[in-house]
Every structure is written in structure tokens, then in C-alpha cells.
């Protein structure tokens, strides 16, 4: 009888549909026992050719197309495109519009970070916190609806400004919601940063070193949690961020040290929620009077853009990090070229060092810790010696919850 060769490592494909990810992405893990020794990432399962479709539309139509790139960053993308076009056409955005733009951007950040906090809690089996965060997020969505008329696709962006004003009679409702956030922020901070369960699951887990973050060009809270001071709002103050008082959020602000682990990424996002509340307050307090858009007549705006030739870039600090749009206009109705680079694009490669050396049960929380803009889960297939075992969403989630319980006993 011949002895079967002992295989020490296994291949574990996760995705393209997976619990911790909000959009399809495929991980191929090489596993030794419970430990991940290597990771490969495959993308593109839902590439929708949006950039190509953009070259068939005029710039105002693109705003609404760009809004549909992402359901959470539905403000950042059209606004980033607008920033690029405004640079090419040398459109001067009124001061008031710049302040209004910040309010919407920061509200989107609050929504996104709170949503993420809920997902992170769910991944480690702390569903009561998921419900707390989503209750808070509901308030943020209510305020979004109050300010823009919509909860998800906000349709507030216009090239040269915004489409709706925030008048003084709307301030009480905004301030009331901000007060609600402040009251609940302390609860959230306590749950995430002082709770033993969270600390056990997140400290020392999914580490991204500062050097890796810099080399792999990570962006947003993912890179800041590794101690890299990158924040487009401060690096190149667009809108009116140059007028406001705030600073880079890195975990050492709170703990005095930078570890670059999941815990640090939680710290950064939580502190940024607080920072966003303060930024909105500053904007409301210092809002200048004036117009909200440079050119009110859209037909005139389009006629102007049609005659322009040039290229420009728009950069914004989206909730997940730097969002980047390149636009090339060529004296035509539609742009000649449009390149969209969402933050997750730059945060894909950092997953590899984060996941190496981790356990299978840590995959959901580590993958979620970069707040990937990819959608939800379904199943995991384990292929071993031509036998196929399917780990479904519940199974993988249960493994994560069981790990939390093991740590607690």
C-alpha cells in the first residue's frame, strides 16, 4: 500500500461572494492548519464599465452616473469628478458652496464610519452593537434626507457648486442630530475601545506596518491607523478645509502608540466621527453668505464645457480614503477620458500583509477592517483532494463568533 503524500498546506478560496465584503472579490488563501501563509486577491467580478459609459455622456449626466459607483460614497464620486472638471474649466466655486460641500462630505463620513462600526461588530459576533450603530446611522440618513431630499443617491452635486442650500431655519435640526451623535458617541467609544471582547479580537490582529502602508500606497483610515499622515483634506485642502481647524487622526492621538492593527483602525474611524461632527459645527458657525453654484443655467454650463480642451484631476478624502478622478475634455459633449480610482483600489494590496499569519476565523474582521467597498457574503468553498466542502456565510460567521467565545473563556 502506497503512502499518500502528506500535504502541509491547503488552498482556501474565499469569494467572490463573501460575508465580510460588500462587493464581490476573490481571495485565494494558502492555509497551514488554521494559519494563513499566503494570500492572492482577484478582482473584477462586477466591473460595470462605468468609465467607458462616462465617455458617452455629458459632464452633468456623469454626475448622476458617478453617484451610482458606490451606494455609500454616492457624494464623493460625483463631487470628485466635479472638482476635476472645475479645474479644467477654471470655474470658481462660491465660498458658501464650499462650506455646504464640506457639510455633505462630513455627513457622508459619519454615515460610512458608523455603518462600518456595525459591520465590524457583527463580524466578531457582537450583534447588539450592530443594532446600536445602525440606529445611529438611521439618524444620519434622516439628516441626509432632510438636507438633500434623498437618503442614498443624494443628487446634491453640481459642477461649480451644490444644488440645494442649507438655510438658517434648517440649523436646529442639524444641531439636534449632531447632539444626538455626541451623546451616543461616548457609548460607542466605550463599547469599541474598552470592551474586552473587542480588544481580544482586534489588538495585534491584521497588522499593517507603516512601511508597508507607504510602499503599497494605502489610503484613508487604513494608512492613518499605521501612522501615515495622509489625508487629502489637509494635504491639499480642497473645498474650504483650509479654513477649518482640525488635524490628522492617527491612533497615537488617543493611545500614544501606533500598532497598525485592527484596533488602531477602529480608533481612527471613531475619532474621525467625532472630528466630522466638529467640522460640520464649524461650517455652520462660519458659513459665508452668497451663491451656492457658479452657473445656475445648466445648458449654459454644458455649452461652456463643450468648448473646453484640457485635463484635470479631482482628489477628495472619501470615508475610506483618497478618491481620485482624472478627466480629459476634448472640445466635445462627452469627456474624452475619465478614470475613477476609488479608495479600495489602493487598499487591496495592503490586505496581503495584513492577512498573512492570521487565522481563518480572523479573515472576516481583518478584511472588513479596511472597510472595503465590496459587497456581501455568501459562501466559502474549501477544496481538498478533489473533495469540495462548502462553508456558507453562517458557518464562516459562526467560526468567527466561536473564536470570540473561546477567547472569552
Amino acid at each position: 500500500m502506497s503512502k499518500a503524500t502528506t500535504k502541509t498546506s491547503y488552498q482556501l478560496p474565499i469569494g467572490p461572494i463573501h460575508p465580510a465584503l460588500k462587493e464581490p472579490v476573490m481571495f485565494e488563501f494558502e492555509i497551514e492548519g488554521e494559519r494563513i501563509v499566503n494570500v492572492d486577491v482577484a478582482l473584477g467580478h462586477v466591473h460595470r464599465s462605468i468609465e467607458w459609459a462616462g465617455t458617452k455622456r455629458n459632464p452633468v449626466q456623469i454626475l448622476y452616473l458617478a453617484e451610482r459607483i458606490c451606494g455609500i460614497c454616492s457624494y464623493c464620486h460625483p463631487m470628485c469628478f466635479a472638482l476635476g472638471v472645475e479645474k479644467i474649466a477654471k470655474i470658481v466655486v462660491p465660498d458658501r458652496a464650499n462650506y455646504l460641500r464640506i457639510i455633505h462630505a462630513e455627513l457622508e463620513r459619519i454615515c460610512s464610519h458608523i455603518l462600518w462600526a456595525g459591520v465590524a461588530a457583527h463580524e466578531v459576533g457582537f450583534d447588539s452593537v450592530l443594532f446600536l450603530t445602525w440606529q445611529m446611522r438611521e439618524k444620519a440618513l434622516d439628516l441626509t434626507e432632510y438636507l438633500t431630499g434623498n437618503r442614498v443617491t443624494k443628487a446634491i452635486t453640481m459642477i461649480g457648486g451644490v444644488r440645494r442650500d442649507i438655510t438658517e431655519d434648517m440649523h436646529p435640526k442639524i444641531l439636534e442630530t449632531l447632539d444626538y451623535f455626541k451623546e451616543n458617541f461616548e457609548k460607542l467609544r466605550h463599547v469599541f475601545l474598552d470592551d474586552k471582547t473587542f480588544m481580544l479580537r482586534s489588538q495585534g490582529c491584521g497588522i499593517l506596518t507603516k512601511e508597508d502602508a507607504l510602499k503599497l500606497c494605502a489610503v484613508g483610515p487604513t494608512t492613518r491607523a499605521s501612522g501615515v499622515k495622509k489625508d487629502v483634506r489637509l494635504d491639499q485642502p480642497y473645498f474650504a478645509y483650509g479654513d477649518l481647524d482640525f488635524d490628522y487622526v492617527t491612533p497615537d492621538v488617543l493611545t500614544g502608540e501606533v500598532n497598525g492593527d485592527v484596533y488602531d483602525r477602529i480608533i481612527v474611524r471613531l475619532l474621525e466621527v467625532k472630528q466630522s461632527i466638529e467640522l460640520i459645527e464649524q461650517c455652520i458657525k462660519n458659513m459665508p453668505a452668497g451663491e451656492i453654484v457658479a452657473e445656475k443655467k445648466i445648458a449654459k454650463l454644458l455649452a461652456t464645457l463643450k468648448k473646453i480642451k484640457g485635463e484635470g484631476i479631482g482628489r477628495m478624502e472619501a470615508p475610506r480614503g483618497e478618491v481620485f478622478h482624472y478627466v480629459k475634455l476634448n472640445e466635445s459633449d462627452a469627456p474624452y477620458s475619465w478614470k475613477v480610482r476609488a479608495p479600495t483600489y489602493s487598499n487591496i494590496l495592503p490586505w496581503i500583509p495584513m492577512l498573512k499569519g492570521q487565522q481563518i476565523a480572523d479573515i472576516p474582521i481583518v478584511a472588513a477592517s479596511t472597510d472595503p467597498c465590496m459587497s456581501c457574503t455568501n459562501r466559502v468553498a474549501v477544496v481538498h483532494k478533489n473533495e469540495r466542502h462548502i462553508l456558507d456565510k453562517e458557518m464562516l460567521h459562526r467560526m468567527s463568533v466561536e473564536k470570540t467565545r473561546r477567547l472569552m473563556t
Binding site: 478582482l43 473584477g44 464599465s49 467607458w52 479645474k87 499622515k229 485642502p237 483650509g242 477620458s337 478614470k339
Partner: protein, 177 residues
């Protein structure tokens, strides 16, 4: 202490080092907000032969230049790639964006990889290969990234010539041809 050059000096540093191989260069200034806070973006069009050296030159200003992405488009006889970098991040209002354009002839659309200098550039380079049909010389991972494996070979979605996507694009309501 690191010395931070002004955008104009940065452009000068490139033109002094690479002379006529820098075909075109300029720095644009933007002012935002009530306080008119300024920042700059540099645009350069360079000869392909110095591309790698120009990227290497970025490292003399910043140990870790940030690479955002590269854009690209079909200009008929050539394909142009625009590499978007930024340096000097980490302090308010100090960052400078540097956009570098290279023109690759369609007869031989090859450019060197920069992923050995900036490992974070791999995905962007893979994307340019599959979308525009350019060849990135020395790319560490020569596989498709966004386009599915069953997408026909030799069709490049961002091309505007006969290798473009029009043959595989179907049922697109309301899209101008």
C-alpha cells in the same frame, strides 16, 4: 531636516536633469476657501526613454512618493498613459501632485514597470494592460485583474480603434455609438 522645494523648483529640478526629454511641463496653482489656501499640481509630458528615471527622481524629494493611479486613453496613433503621483504629504497644505504623461506608439506600446519602485502600482499596471492593450515590461503579475477570464482576447475596452469594445458591447440602450 528635509528640504521642501516649491512646485516651480520641482519642475526646474526635472527639466535641469532631463533637459529636452521633458517635452512639456508646468505647475498649476489652485486656491480654495475663504482663506484662499493654495496647493499645486505639476503636469509633465516626457519621453518614454526617461520614464523610469523620472520616477526614480521622485524619490529624491520623498522617500515614499504616493502613487494614486495611472489613467490612459487612445489617441489614434498612440496610447497615452498619465501616472498620478504626489509627494510631501503629512503636513497641512504641503503636498504637491505630479502627473506624468507618456506617449506609447501603437506599433510598440511598451513601458517599463514601476512596481519594483512602488509595489502598490501593480493593480494599476495590470489594469492598463487589459484595458488599453499596452505591455508593461517587467510587471510581476501578468494576469487580468478587472476583466473576466472569458472576455475575448485582443479586445481592449478603452481602445477607440478596431480592437475596441464595440463588437462585444450589446444591448446598451440609449448609448450613442
Amino acid at each position: 531636516m528635509t528640504e521642501y522645494l516649491t512646485p516651480e523648483d520641482l519642475v526646474k529640478s526635472f527639466t535641469d536633469k532631463f533637459q529636452l526629454k521633458i517635452k512639456e511641463s508646468h505647475a498649476e496653482k489652485y486656491a480654495y476657501g475663504s482663506k484662499k489656501t493654495e496647493f499645486s499640481q505639476i503636469w509633465m509630458r516626457i519621453d518614454n526613454s526617461i520614464f523610469k528615471d523620472v520616477v526614480k527622481h521622485l524619490f529624491t524629494f520623498d522617500k515614499y512618493p504616493h502613487f494614486a493611479v495611472s489613467s490612459g486613453y487612445d489617441m489614434g496613433n498612440s496610447i497615452e498613459l498619465v501616472y498620478h503621483f504626489s509627494i510631501y504629504n503629512g503636513e497641512r497644505n504641503r503636498e504637491v501632485s505630479i502627473n506624468i504623461t507618456v506617449e506609447l506608439p501603437k506599433s510598440n506600446p511598451v513601458i517599463e514597470t514601476i512596481s519594483d519602485l512602488i509595489p502598490g502600482a501593480v493593480i494599476s499596471e495590470q489594469e492598463k494592460q487589459e484595458m488599453l492593450g499596452v505591455k508593461i515590461h517587467g510587471i510581476p503579475k501578468d494576469a487580468r485583474v478587472f476583466i473576466s477570464d472569458d472576455f475575448p482576447e485582443g479586445v481592449f475596452p478603452w481602445r477607440r480603434d478596431e480592437t475596441g469594445p464595440h463588437k462585444v458591447a450589446r444591448n446598451l440602450h440609449g448609448v450613442k455609438k
